[in-house]
Amino acid sequence: MQQSGRKPKKVTYDHYGYFFIAPFFIVFLVFQLYPIFFTFKTSMTDAVGWNKILNNSMVGFKNFQTLFTANETSSLYWLSFKNTVIIWFFNFVPQIGFALILASWFTDQHLHLKAQGAFKVMIFMPNIITAATIGMLFFSLFSYPIAPINTLLQKIGVLNTPFEYFRNVPTSRGIVSFIQWWMWYGNTMIIMIAGMSGINPALFEAAMLDGCTSRQIFWKITLPLIKPILLYNLVTSLVGGLTMFDIPHLMTQGNPNNMTNTVARFIYQQGFTGTYNFNMASAGSVVLFAIIIVCSLFLNMLMKDRTGTPRKLHRAMHK
């Protein structure tokens, strides 16, 4: 036994925690925060081409002016924005719908679905494949005039002559929306299931004892209680949807007539083709950034519980 007269020195390991979180912050600062500020700065310069990426002069809000007055650039930008919203909408609505239905089936105590794991894996699967592969796959499937879908539809008598899917606005947008839906509804479903299984089963039991139907339980108990999860899904899907790039880029290249061009493709084209207009690409990014912030805040407000959920329910949910 140690018999020192002094009080034993207190050993603290607290500061080691900083070492563990340091890698994240270093990576974040270098690869995320700095580029964001750099983008803001570049958006106010005349940086065209690699030569001027560092040696440029400030031009104030000129680039933003270009985006908000009538000219070739702004018309393409806002057309791309419109396309993005349309494509996002037709992917998002069915995505949330399917995810909710599937999640409520998988979590329903009455149904007791068999082989849940297998179904979940299969539904989630498209999300694992890279977008590049899927883009090329669908491009080949829907090609013209000789391609699997055209051949199939001709064989079963739906079409007499091959159809050019990627020269038609609704079909080309539709295919992009479909891919986005197909890739992401599994992911959304998993998050919904997590949200739903977090609800205290006592609430469902109580509802059942009171004679609620499955539908009533879904609308009155499940849905209100997964509101935060819904909000999370809405915001992530909105951010993902507005920055959509890979599928349209690889499959349609914005065709036909720029009708599947998205904002991210606009930014890419400005920044990395032609004369490398980094200034316009940055300005486009900053405007998109602002739009996403405003939309997210709006969604947050919309979904906020104004009725003031009793604390008990909140606790029940987070049990």
Partner: protein, 453 residues
Amino acid sequence: MKKVLALVLAVMMLVAAVPFAMAEEAITLNIWSFTNEFQGMIEKYFAPTHPNIQFNFVLYPTDGGEYTSHVDTLFAADAAAEDAPDVFTLEAAFVKKYVNSDWTGDLKDVGFVDEDFSTCIPAMLQIGQDNATGVQKGLAWQSTPGALMYRADLAEKYLGITTPEEFQEKVADWDAFLETAEELNEASEGACKMFCADGDVFRPYLYNRESGWVVDNALVLDDQLYDFLDMMKTCEEDDLYARGQAWTETWFAGMNGTNEILCYFLPTWGLHYTLKPNCVPGADGSMSDEELQKLSDENGGTFGLWRMVAGPVGYSWGGTWVGTNAAKVAAADDAKKAAIKELIRFFTLDEEFLYTYAMDSGDFVSNNTVVDKIIAEGGTPNPFLGGQDHYAMFAEAAALADASTMTEYDEDMERLFRDNVTLPYIKGEVDLDTAIANFKAAVTNAFADITVE
């Protein structure tokens, strides 16, 4: 980040090269390239006879512009940097961008004289020249003239043509080509199409413009472009082509005989690396001629059914050029300059090497003397072409190609033109004026420095 990575890679290669470098006071050259083709050639043909020259190779893929953005960022920062390339390779898509800039050096600065280039195939030389000054900045070891490949069996069946000479008459110019297309469509009752995709005929048209896309920083729409649109519109309305797209199922289906397409416009590499490996479903590039022939005969492929003619116009498609980094050359001592010259001379002008390489690879080389020698020795009778000598045919085609209209804007312009004009116009989605206006708007968007009227 990428610069750091490049540096790390370069350092790693340097470390790997150290044991060799210690042997003698060796000269080390930094080589940047976009495939390992050049590196392989150096290791196989050059290194054994030039032990005093060492190399640091840096490779970046061309996908998504990775190679060019590395070169651009480096040159923008410090072209004379230690790890900057002394010599770098340039692909057809972006060779003009660099030889038209001050970044690539005049080859005379490392000791070449005009006479050195006298036996080079003119189109390939032309592409390596600065458009504004005519200074020679890049040289190529290959030449990539294009020709017209056609199915002899289909030509005989529908048009009654039995020899390539007769067929050439049928496609001697674009009017004849279009007439033949109409004739073919009638004779085959629409079963056999003249060609597959708009892109197939676009390139030959592009090569025969009088001016490039951009002259004195202003956009120029050459008459050839309008001629091309007229022809494609007729082909679309009269159903004369297969309405496919290059590198898609429909395009390959015509090559392997699944559907009937009479002609393909293909360059040297297109014959060996595109048409031949796709002549029968299930074929691949590693098969020998005999294996391909057997597979093709058993499965209704097209091996041996193709013939080659010059076609309506001469053109060229693809290629690789070697250029020097002006900043590094300016700072180099005589010994290093001599090494750079020797490297470029060996691969692009050395007749002995070019002959060996042509024999080994079957590639079509850029030197007239060597090409003539190969033809004089009996050429390269090709069973795939029913015994036709492709070297002789390509030599004819090479003489026709004129690359004076090539500019650094070509790749982007061609894409914008197809998306905004060719497809919407020929498919009847917009009228010609709207299509051209859309194209001009797209050019304004992409290029901050081009005037568009």
